[in-house]
């Protein structure tokens, strides 16, 4: 197990270095000067030059790359050009929205997907299975932003049960904050739940056809006992993979939903950073996300190993 973890750790480190180079290179190629953007149409050229100096945009590429990476290693993510506050402060603020939202949505989607995936698999070929397959097909097909707008129209504009968007902050109380995240989480969770349920169903059906299940049944276990004791655990590997991917997606990929509900999340921070050429913010946040995705993949790998002993001992 230790050796398995160690090799994964080395590849994690190499991926991070490669990612930092790619991110920096891409940002360098993009046209657009943050100073010119900030000062607008009437600015005098010398005012733009003075601002470039102030922002430290005039150094050589190598020097700027090294100071960026060096800063990140010591925990200093630099200062936002436009907001003029430390990037770490911005990211932390946004994480308090994006992380709970991602977990909330993931929790919902798992809660929905597990039982219906289980039902569909155990009732394979019967009406319940067909019903679930049709519903999840629809869930995968419906774009989540459209579904989100529908939720807003019904629950915010007509019924007035929820506000149309925004986030009051955690200091307004856990209830108010979770309430504000409910519609976004539901609209994020439904398509994810549909995918997860379908994966769950096919994984279970596959394991149910295995010899050891027949043996278990022959031993006298009921169908239900065979599923819960043997099939479920073995069907978990593909399901875990999907959950890991979904979490990474939800963390930063919720940008469209963040726009529909005007939530101050990480996705919008990156989007804003790109349009305003707040390059430090873009670089550092993208790097953090890469780190998060790689870390989640690493943890999922470890979870595989825990779920499937064969992976631990494979050389």
């Amino acid at each position: 197990m230790l050796r398995f973890a160690a090799t994964r750790l080395v590849s994690l480190g190499l991926s991070l270095i490669a990612a930092s180079l790619v991110i920096f290179a891409v940002i360098e190629v993009v046209p657009g000067d943050p100073a010119a953007f900030m000062l607008g149409l009437n600015a005098e050229p010398e005012a733009v030059a003075a601002l470039r100096d102030e922002l430290g945009l005039n150094g050589s590429r190598a020097a700027r790359y090294l100071s960026w990476v060096g800063g990140m290693v010591t925990g200093d993510f630099g200062q936002s050009y436009t907001y003029r506050v430390p990037v770490s402060q911005l990211v932390l603020q946004r994480l308090w929205v994006s992380l709970p939202l991602a977990l909330y949505a993931l929790g919902l989607s798992t809660l929905i997907a597990f039982p219906i995936g289980l039902i569909a698999a155990s009732r394979r070929g019967r009406p319940a299975d067909y019903g679930i397959m049709a519903a999840t097909q629809l869930g995968v097909a419906v774009p989540n932003f459209w579904f989100a707008m529908l939720l807003v129209l019904v629950f915010a504009v007509n019924l007035r049960w929820f506000s149309a968007g925004g986030f009051p902050g955690w200091e307004a109380g856990a209830f108010a904050a979770l309430k504000a995240l409910t519609l976004p989480a539901v609209s994020l969770a439904l398509p994810q739940a549909s995918i997860l349920a379908r994966v769950m169903r096919s994984a279970l059906i596959e394991t149910l056809g295995q010899d050891y299940i027949r043996t278990a049944r022959a031993k006298g276990l009921s169908r239900r006992q065979a599923i819960t004791r043997h099939a479920l655990r073995n069907a978990l590997i593909p399901v875990l993979t999907i959950i890991g991917l979904q979490f990474s997606f939800l963390l930063a990929g919720a940008i469209i939903i963040e726009n529909v509900f005007f939530l101050p999340g990480l996705g919008r921070l990156i989007f804003q950073g790109i349009t305003q050429r707040d390059l430090v913010v873009v670089e550092s946040v993208v790097m953090l996300l890469v780190f998060a995705v790689i870390l989640v993949t690493f943890l999922v790998d470890l979870a595989y190993a825990a779920a499937d002993p064969r992976l631990r001992h494979r050389r």
Partner: protein
């Protein structure tokens, strides 16, 4: 559903008396200000939060665009027009409790015109030769040449008075002299202002104001409808305005802005350096089609680079009236055929939608356009600074900015000695009638030279709760002045 609605209505009625003295407001804005320092950035959103609320200048714009006293109660102009003496209001304090005096005025103006200044409108201060403190409440500003528009220039958001102790940190923690101070900024979500208890002037009726940032037009619509925001002064979904008009809970506020929207032409790029080709392009444009198609009918046609609500405006739309036959004849006379022009379009809807319509109109007279959609940053670098474009569409939102036509290196590259002389004369003239005549001549000159295709004055279309009074209808400068805003009982 009906029961729920009735319950909600009953609750709202029950809560009525308690809400009668509502003194808080939530405003929606499409873009978040990048920072809150109006002396170090051009983003309109900075002024939309800070102007007249957090920061004040020597003079200021009133709702109708008139220049009225701000921190200066009055000012005297010397006979030769070279010296302005400003008399400051007594008892003014910054939000941090320190007193505002003539020293702060000198510091602010000297900082804005310094060599390393990062002021986005540095040209406003270019005419200042010296700023002298006479006594704590008197400042004497000497100009290098007479300038009849100096009080106007001091009203801009870029010319507000800041304190030496806080000037460098205003971006994140603004310290001004205004009736409101920053209470909280949740980046990406909202900015909260609260009443400054020691404000030197009349206290505003509102105790708290929140600006929420909602960029998506659909979300803006939902937020208004759900009552999450009380007003959206520049509403991003004009197609829904009819729905708000029909709803008694809301008022739709339609006003004018300082935004002259032009089809800018690169005057140094062949064949647009030929005035006949530029005239051909101008005559091919049907302004009303663009206003209807791109702006849902909101906007006033213009024939020159000047705001129609300005008293010195003259209607010159006739000079470049829609006449495709004339365009074809002009192109023929210029010996141009099979013309293809590159059109660079920045993100706003007026540009993207307007660009498609203009491309279709140019096709009618045999000009092909290649449209490139750009982000602002890319547009600024390639079209604006690099001058690598033939046509582009931009709304010039600065007030009274006809002076950009006297800058030969400005992006559309109009280099005309006659016009430059006219503007130099204007700068040195302070008699109102003479100024008016010169301004009219300047409007005529750029219209006859077909420098750009003048499209329309951008309208300001906003939506507000019907009970809110005192929001600005027009936008003489980009601002949400909350000092006079009240809730009707």
């Amino acid at each position: 559903m009906r029961i729920i609605r009735m319950t909600a209505a009953a609750l709202a009625l029950g809560a009525g008396p308690a809400l009668a003295a509502q003194d808080t407001i939530t405003l929606g804005m499409q873009l978040e200000p990048p920072n809150l320092d109006p002396t170090g950035g051009a983003a309109a959103a900075i002024d939309e939060v800070t102007y007249a609320n957090i920061f004040e200048g020597l003079t200021r714009f009133a709702a109708d665009g008139a220049i009225i006293p701000g921190l200066a109660r009055s000012w005297d102009i010397s006979e030769d027009g070279l010296t302005y003496t400003f008399h400051l209001a007594p008892g003014v304090t910054f939000h941090d409790g320190t007193a505002m005096d003539a020293g702060d005025v000198k510091f602010s103006l000297d900082r804005a015109r310094a060599e390393d200044s990062t002021n986005a409108q540095k040209a406003l201060f270019a005419g200042i030769a010296d700023v002298a403190v006479i006594d704590p409440l008197t400042v004497r500003i000497t100009l290098s040449a007479p300038d009849g528009g100096f009080a106007f220039k001091m009203a801009w958001g870029d010319a507000v008075i800041v304190a030496p102790e806080s000037a460098e940190t205003n971006a994140a923690a603004p310290v001004g002299t205004g009736p409101f101070k920053l209470a909280r900024w949740v980046q990406g979500d909202r900015i909260e202002l609260e009443r400054h208890p020691d404000y030197w002037g009349a206290a505003p009726a509102l105790s708290k104001a929140t600006f929420r940032f909602i960029s998506d037009p659909n979300a803006a619509f939902a937020a208004m409808m759900a009552g999450d925001v009380d007003a959206f002064p520049v509403f991003p979904a004009p197609e829904t305005l009819e729905q708000f008009k029909a709803d008694p809970r809301f008022t739709v506020i339609v006003g004018s802005t300082e935004g002259e929207t032009v089809l800018a032409m690169n005057n140094k790029q062949k064949p647009l350096d030929d005035v006949r080709v530029r005239a051909a392009v101008a005559h091919a444009i049907n302004r009303q089609d663009i206003i209807d198609g791109a702006m849902f009918g909101y906007g006033t046609p213009i024939g020159t680079h000047f705001a129609p609500h300005n008293p010195d405006y003259i209607d010159l739309t006739g000079i470049s009236a829609y006449d495709p036959e004339k365009s074809k004849a002009l192109l023929k006379a210029a010996g141009v055929s099979d013309l293809t022009l590159r059109m660079a379009l920045p993100p706003p809807t007026y540009a993207r939608r307007g660009g498609e319509i203009i491309a279709a109109q140019l096709r009618e007279i045999g000009i092909t356009t290649e449209i490139t959609n750009m982000e602002w940053a890319q547009w600024l670098e390639q079209a604006f600074r690099g001058k690598d474009f033939d046509l582009t569409i931009v709304s010039h939102t600065e007030p009274m900015d006809i002076g950009i036509y006297a800058r030969p290196d400005y992006y559309f590259q109009y280099d005309d000695l006659g016009f430059q002389a006219l503007l130099a004369l204007l700068d040195n003239t302070s008699a109102p009638e003479a100024r008016s005549g010169l301004l009219k001549a300047a409007q005529g000159k750029i219209a006859m030279d077909y420098v750009n295709g003048y499209l329309f004055q951008l309208a300001k279309t906003g939506v507000a709760n019907a009970k809110i009074k005192g929001l600005w209808e027009n936008a003489p400068t980009q601002a949400n002045d909350l000092t006079g805003v009240t809730w009707e009982e």
